[in-house]
Amino acid sequence: MRIRRFDPAPHAHGFGIVLPENGTTALPVPADAKSLVRRLDRYGRLGVAAAAAALDAAAANPPAVLDPSWGVMVGSSLGCLESNRAHDRATREQPLPEMRPALFVRTVSNSVTGDISIVWRLGGPSATFVSGWTAGVDALIAAAIAIEEGRARLVLAGAVEAPGSPLADAAVAAGPCAAGRPGARVAAGPREAAAMALVAAGPKPGAPRLIAAGRGRDPEGCMSLRAAMAVLAPERLAAVVIANGVPPPLLARWRDEAGQVPIVDLSKRTGELGAVGVFAALAGTAAGSGLTLVVARGPAGETAVVAALR
């Protein structure tokens, strides 16, 4: 895995984290978008809610007219799977005239990215990653690069997991966690959750700066941490935050790799958040200080790291 420093390093101005208990009913969305938001599926509503919360947290003024300097990047491991299941069932059980076009439109995973761009008139670069549990990091890296390369001035970057309980239950029931082995099952599927950050070029008091990131397949489990520690100078690291739960043997190896640097297993507090985990971890760094390394890892050994400095 290669760790790449962002140049210039962008800042995460505000985080919006939406968990089921928070609800998504009182969304500060533009008045002319409220009827659209009411028609969204759970996947879209969670994404829009997190975006609204991030804009609110950043005290940002979203564009009043279409603005091509604002981008949207979203990651999700399960994507729009629930809508796909509903359309699949309808395909098998209903005659064509009774099927709903509006449901079919929700069977593309970038529907949430489209929702956010429509609600806030964001006409800049956009992408939707469904890479697994590192998809949130893909979105964050894409946002940082868009700013670095001058493609966007501001980017809403985040992750959405709206699996619905049956699939989450199936994931939990699938077997013990054995991350690191391709094809392994996960112990706890992603909970329904969403998170967004407003990534911007300029600083803001208290906003963490995104210093560097890397991603890759790391079946053995330590390559990523070793690569990051080599680039970031361990003496500067305040903590390594594990965004997704990892099996105890791997956690033990990571503790060895990290040496004196404390390791915080975020999943102990938040449960599994899938691609959303990295944003929950980064939002946590905003409350701390120093250089923090966030590690996201999924069941096929896909691993990504993000270094953030407050």
Binding site: F104, S109, G114, S131, R215, A300
Partner: protein, 386 residues
């Protein structure tokens, strides 16, 4: 900003309705030979007299189609790049774009082969990573019909920034009742012929398959004596921010994506001498695309050849953009622009140079490949001859 490495295409692979391999695909494109027929792999009578670009040949029992297409196309691309037999460098990765990936398998099988945590969308990418033992970035992109093109753009970025030395990239999707029913209830399937940019166009035909390319740093490719097919000069994306499936009639989002690709390449529209259009054959999408191209090309609009291959292999959704890239790369290599099959009567007042009838022999140095899709997503990629 960090230094940019030049990124080149050194291999390509295609699985399409025209057959297995780039040669079968290219011959069909150049001859303008439609490979569309009534679908056979699933019951399709209720959709009416439709045509589809189904990949010929049976699937093995239990084999997930999009993953198999991606595997076969990637194998061909890696062989063509002479990176087979374990010669891919350690820092290699993969990006696969797909609308659905293996989600139907995830939803229907009691024991899908991948962790259910992926929802099946990432299955083609992760399976390729397993097969080729890749340890670089492994990404899946699902941005509707732009997925394959967006995947190639993302992979090019990984090489350009030094995240990886070699990337496999492309798109893959499979036909199913699932997608056929969806497009049927949207009333966008033609029951006659796919006629991109034609006055009488009345809809699209769905297709399937995979298109994959091998991307690597130009210096490394030269050092190992690889044959360079094309260079990725720039990419861009933009959102319509307008409607989930209805394009902006003036094509502003696509226009911004194309401009962003040219900006990324530090070039202007004056260098474009071929456009591999999305050209689905639907009234609103083709109309939007023609307007955006006319705006971008300006006075040169009548002199820049534009084509669409959707009437040959169908609209292969996540693979469509990758098909466009492979076709454009081969166009630059051969100096032959395939025709837009079934384009007989261009839209009245159209001032674009739409390639119709027969293939056109003409050198191409800079090719712009474009795609638009649900979510109001637009992607453009600028390719250059080596």
């Amino acid at each position: 900003m960090s230094a940019r490495r030049r990124v080149v295409v050194t291999g390509a692979g295609v699985v399409s309705a025209a057959g297995i391999g780039v040669e079968a695909f290219w011959r069909a494109c150049v001859e303008g030979r439609a490979a569309l027929r009534p679908p056979e792999r699933f019951p399709a009578a209720r959709f009416g007299p439709i045509l589809a670009g189904e990949v010929p040949g049976p699937l093995a029992a239990g084999e997930e189609a999009s993953c198999r297409f991606a595997r076969d196309a990637a194998d061909e691309a890696v062989r063509a790049a002479r990176l087979d037999d374990g010669r891919l460098p350690p820092a290699s990765g993969v990006v696969v774009g797909s609308c659905l990936g293996a989600t139907l398998q995830t939803l229907r099988d009691a024991a899908p082969p991948e962790p259910i945590a992926y929802g099946g969308f990432a299955s083609p990418a992760h399976r390729l990573a397993d097969l080729h033992r890749l340890s670089g970035p492994v990404m899946a992109i699902s941005s509707a019909c732009t997925s394959g093109l967006a995947a190639i753009a993302a992979a090019a970025g990984c090489v350009r920034r030094g995240e990886a030395d070699v990337m496999l990239a492309g798109g893959a999707d499979a036909l199913s009742e699932f997608v056929m029913s969806g497009f049927s209830i949207l009333h966008v399937l033609t029951t006659t012929r796919v006629r991109p940019f034609d006055r009488r166009r009345d809809g699209l035909a769905l297709g399937e398959g995979a298109g994959m390319v091998v991307l690597e740093a130009r210096d490394a490719a030269l050092d190992r004596g690889a044959r360079i097919l094309a260079e990725i000069l720039g990419d861009g994306s933009a959102g319509d921010a307008h409607h989930m499936i209805g394009p902006v009639t003036e094509g502003a989002g696509l226009r911004r994506a194309m401009a962003a690709a040219l900006d990324d390449a530090r070039l202007d529209a004056g260098v474009v001498d071929f456009v591999a259009a999305h050209g689905t054959g639907t009234v609103p999408s083709d109309g939007m695309e023609m307007t955006a191209l006319r705006d971008l090309l300006g006075e040169r609009a009548a002199h820049v050849p534009i084509n669409s291959i959707k009437a040959v292999v169908g609209h292969a959704l996540g693979a469509a953009g990758a098909f466009g890239v492979v076709m454009a790369v081969r166009t630059m290599v051969e100096g032959i622009i395939p025709p837009t099959t079934n384009l007989e009567e261009p839209v009245e007042g159209c001032t674009l140079d739409l390639v119709a009838g027969a293939a056109r022999r003409r050198p191409v140095r800079r090719a712009l490949t474009i795609a638009s899709g649900f979510g109001g997503h637009n992607v453009a990629l600028l390719l250059g001859a080596p």
